[in-house]
Every structure is written in structure tokens, then in C-alpha cells.
């Protein structure tokens, strides 16, 4: 059963992968294009002794997972961009109080009510602007459904390992498409959480889930502790895929998620047409695989970031390259997904322009 390749919709594969990872609790609010996640959970969880609650808003949903995560269980919510904006407050509390949860954002076009087409316009929000305060959290960005399945398991593990909320970012295509996937065996060996608020037995001090430190020195100590954790994450957790880069081509594309799939096809086509090019695909948007890009800058003479936005990840790429090479950008916004042909043409133009 577990080794079988099954045809599954992205949203449902993400939900099932969470269940395999030991998540038995889901709190969420409907929003397109990710409704199949709560729908799947509402069907499955009651049958396996789990909990599904349709919250009154995303604001409540994120606070429900705060309560449940603080009580020590694996728990998740999912939403799409406008709904995720509403979770920013709760996310900051999750970071501050160090509550491990997983939040899935199936990104749609913005700003405002925007549209429902696939987008990567939430890169800034996910990697640096998701709520107030000095904070970071791991952001995983799958580009295939199999990778989404694998990264959901990783998301729960990293959340517990670092006692931190973890984000998984897809887009409308990842959420809506079907692909064959293979699920891992269900996880049974979940980590102990002695810090959880489960009721205080006489044998231990009370546990408090909290992010309030009124004394500046205390809060600074908390922030320092968090940043020591972030430093460990930045050292150990950056992940990326290097595609056709082994021969150190002079041109390196950079793309993640759905855009990386299309960019891969563009790389293959350009190679067939004699253009020496490869692709570096960040799998973790934070920690950003900066050293992999810096290393590529030893040989690549030009970088081109392609995104489903008007240029967000490109800022991280430029920072990684530190001015040693030009980092150009091309992208579409609003839910428009470019064709392979379009990327090929734009890459040729950007090569010419340099």
C-alpha cells in the first residue's frame, strides 16, 4: 500500500502526508484554492480519532493551533494568501512562544483580494514579514507533489526539532494539480514534549506557553535564544536542487516551486538549442541556500531569477551573490503562469542585454 504510486490532487496529498506524519488535528477556514485540504481532513480525521474544527476565521484557526500545539500534539492549518495575512499575528506568537505547528500557504495572486491563480507573491511575507517582531521560521517550497508529500513530513519534524512553527508554501498549481505520489509509512515514534501544557502533575513545575517579557533584558535574552536557534537552522537546514549545473555553465537560472518546473523545461530546451545554462532551485526559502548560490557565482557569469511575482526572491539571490555577478529578474504576476517558450525567449533577451 505505502509503496504504491497513487494519483492524487496536491491539496489532498498534502493533507494525507500530514496524517502520515502523525498530525491528527486540523483547524482551518475555507479559502480558494486550498479548500480540498480542510475538506479531506474533515472526512479523514474523525475516522482515525483525530480532530477537525472549521474555525470562524483564520485569526481563530491560527490561535487554535497555538493552543493545540502548546498542548503537545502535531497540528496544522492551511490557507491561501489573504487568509494567511490574517494569521500573521498568531504566527508571531507561535514563534515567540516556540510552539511547533505547520502552516500551509497555497499562494494566490495579490495584493488585496487579488485573484485565485497561482502566484509566488507571498515570498516576502513568508520569509521575513509574517507578523511583528524579530523572527524567522523555516519555509519549505515543494515543486512537485511527491516533494510536497516528503516536505510535509519534514515540516513536522523540523517544527518539533526546533520547537518552531514551520511553513510550507505552494501555489494554486501545486494545490490543484494531480500527480502520482508515494506516501511514507505512518509515523508512530513521535517526540516527547515535556514542556507542553497538559495539566501540572505534582512531580513537575507548571508549564507556561508564553511570549511576554516586560523587562527588556528578559525579552532580549529570549530574542538571543531564538537567534541562536536560527543560526543552527541556517547552518544545518538550507536545501536546494542543482539542475544541470555540474558543468558550471556561465548562466544560472534561479526559481522555486511551480516556476522551477517550468524553468527546468526551459533549461532543457535552451541546452538543446546550444545555450549553456542550469537551474538552482531553493527548496528552503528560509534558510535561503545562499552559500550554494555564492558557490555557483564562482563560475556563473550571470544569474536570472524567474518568479510568479514581480521580483521577491531575487533580492535574496542578489544578497547571496554580493554584487560579484549580475542577477537579473523576469516574472509574471496576478496568476499568469508563463509558458516554457516565454521563459526561453526572455532568457535569450536577458543574455543579449548583458
Amino acid at each position: 500500500m505505502s509503496a504504491q504510486r497513487m494519483l492524487m490532487k496536491g491539496s489532498e496529498a498534502i493533507a494525507e502526508a500530514a496524517i502520515r506524519a502523525g498530525c491528527r488535528c486540523f483547524f482551518g477556514y475555507p479559502i480558494t484554492p486550498q479548500n480540498e485540504i480542510p475538506e479531506y481532513m474533515s472526512k479523514r480525521l474523525p475516522k482515525i480519532g483525530g480532530v477537525f474544527v472549521q474555525a470562524e476565521s483564520e485569526v481563530s484557526a491560527v490561535n487554535m493551533i497555538y493552543g493545540a500545539g502548546g498542548a503537545g500534539v502535531r497540528v496544522m492549518t492551511s490557507s491561501s494568501s489573504p487568509g494567511v495575512s490574517l494569521m500573521a499575528e498568531g504566527f508571531s506568537y507561535l514563534v515567540g512562544a516556540e510552539v511547533p505547528v505547520v502552516i500551509v500557504n497555497i499562494v494566490r495572486g495579490g495584493p488585496g483580494l487579488g485573484g485565485i491563480g497561482p502566484s509566488q507573491g507571498d515570498y516576502f511575507m513568508m520569509t521575513r514579514g509574517f507578523g511583528h517582531g524579530d523572527q524567522r521560521a523555516v519555509v519549505l517550497a515543494p515543486s512537485t507533489l511527491q516533494e510536497a508529500v516528503d516536505l510535509m513530513g519534514l515540516a513536522f519534524d523540523l517544527a518539533d526539532k526546533y520547537r518552531s512553527p514551520t511553513l510550507l508554501v505552494g501555489d494554486g498549481l501545486i494545490g490543484q494539480m494531480m500527480e502520482p505520489v508515494t506516501f511514507p509509512e505512518a509515523r508512530l515514534d513521535l517526540p516527547e514534549k515535556p514542556w507542553a501544557t497538559t495539566g501540572k502533575p505534582k512531580t513537575r513545575e507548571r508549564n507556561v506557553i508564553n511570549s511576554l517579557d516586560l523587562a527588556p533584558e528578559d525579552l532580549e535574552a529570549r530574542v538571543e535564544r531564538l537567534f541562536a536557534k536560527y543560526a543552527r537552522i541556517e547552518a544545518d537546514e538550507p536545501r536546494c536542487e542543482r539542475f544541470m549545473l555540474d558543468d558550471n555553465p556561465p548562466l544560472c537560472l534561479c526559481a522555486y516551486g511551480t516556476m522551477a518546473r517550468i524553468a527546468k523545461s526551459a533549461v532543457q530546451r535552451l541546452r538543446a538549442e546550444g545555450v549553456s545554462v542550469g537551474l538552482l532551485r531553493p527548496i528552503t526559502l528560509w534558510p535561503f541556500p545562499a552559500s550554494a548560490i555564492a558557490q555557483q557565482a564562482e563560475s556563473a557569469r550571470q544569474f536570472i531569477c524567474v518568479e510568479l511575482s514581480r521580483g521577491q526572491m531575487v533580492e535574496d539571490a542578489r544578497r547571496a551573490v554580493e554584487g560579484r555577478r549580475p542577477v537579473d529578474f523576469w516574472g509574471r504576476a496576478g496568476g499568469v503562469v508563463p509558458s516554457v517558450e516565454e521563459i526561453v525567449a526572455e532568457v535569450r533577451r536577458l543574455i543579449r542585454d548583458r
Binding site: M178, P180, R261
Partner: protein, 182 residues
């Protein structure tokens, strides 16, 4: 690497999403890579629906295709939308029961099949999608094997009365005959 894209379009309720899934399951059965992508959002509430299936023998890039290789069109709106987008030399399978016009383009391989009539003759008017899938398979070359599609059909109707599968297999084969080159 060979990569082929097929778009299936029709009214909501004509079962275009289902035949897309059957094709995708057939591809999995043959160990191929496949993506299935629906149109989604308000447009799926009534009106026309479509899905795109990409089948390849290696990792697939974009599941969203601007210029598909093949199309199955079940109603008038669908032929109007997708005929202009097909690649030159592409295959278009037209539901002649609901589309009475000829193709505007001359650089496509066209197959006209009265899918609704075929399904009605077999006593299952709702299975016009299976009939047109049969006609499509008659011309789809080595995309996936007919046996794999029949296997996927069996998988799809698993758990339902066996007679239902028998009936749909018959309709599928009737479509195959109707779509075969004269």
C-alpha cells in the same frame, strides 16, 4: 524525452475531468510520469470545465500548457476555445453530437465522433465521455496503451456493480471503433 499534452473540455457534468483522471491513471499503470490540472475557481461553477493531462517518460515541467498537442472537445465553447491553441499537426477529437461545425484549421488531425449518440445506443447516455475517450485512444498513438486505459477504467469503477464496468468497457470499445481511421 517525449512529453505529450492533452486538453479535455466540455460542459460541467460531461465528465471531462473524469476521463482526464482515467488517462492519468493509465499513464501511472505504464510507469510513466503524468500531471493532471483542472481549470478551477468560479469558472468551475457551471459553464465549461477543462483539464490538462501531460504524459511523459521523464519528469514533467509545467503542468499548465499553452499549446496542447491533443484535445478532446465535448461542446461548442470548447472547440472555439481550444482549436486555435493546438500545436500544428495536433489531434482534435470532436463530439459530433453537440458540435456541428467543421474545423477552421487544416493543419490538425480531426476525428468527429457522435459520442452522445454512441452512449445512448449503449443505454448509458451519461457515458458520452467514455465513448469519446475510446475514439481518442484510436488515434492517440503510443501515448498510453489501450490495455492500460481499460485497466484504469476497471480501477475507476471498482466498488461499483460489475455491470457498470462492462457497459462502460463496451462504450469505450464502440468509441475505439468509431474513431479508427477509415
Amino acid at each position: 524525452m517525449k512529453e505529450t499534452s492533452v486538453v479535455m473540455a466540455g460542459f460541467g457534468g460531461q465528465g471531462v475531468m473524469s476521463i482526464g483522471k482515467i488517462l492519468a491513471k493509465a499513464a501511472i499503470h505504464e510507469g510513466k510520469e503524468v500531471t493532471w490540472l483542472p481549470s478551477y475557481g468560479p469558472e468551475m461553477r457551471g459553464g465549461t470545465a477543462n483539464c490538462t493531462v501531460v504524459i511523459a517518460d521523464g519528469p514533467i515541467g509545467s503542468p499548465l500548457v499553452k499549446f496542447p498537442d491533443m484535445a478532446i472537445v465535448m461542446n461548442k465553447q470548447s472547440i472555439d476555445k481550444f482549436e486555435p491553441e493546438l500545436r500544428p499537426g495536433g489531434l482534435i477529437v470532436v463530439n459530433a453530437s453537440l458540435i456541428d461545425r467543421a474545423l477552421a484549421r487544416r493543419d490538425l488531425v480531426a476525428v468527429h465522433v457522435a459520442a452522445n449518440a454512441l452512449a445512448e445506443e449503449a443505454g448509458a447516455p451519461r457515458s458520452a465521455n467514455i465513448a469519446i475517450l475510446g475514439a481518442f485512444m484510436a488515434r492517440a498513438g503510443d501515448l498510453v496503451s489501450i490495455a492500460a486505459v481499460e485497466h484504469a477504467l476497471a480501477e475507476t469503477f471498482a466498488g461499483k456493480p460489475p455491470s457498470l464496468l462492462e457497459q462502460n468497457l463496451a462504450i469505450f470499445r464502440a468509441g475505439l471503433c468509431a474513431g479508427a481511421p477509415a
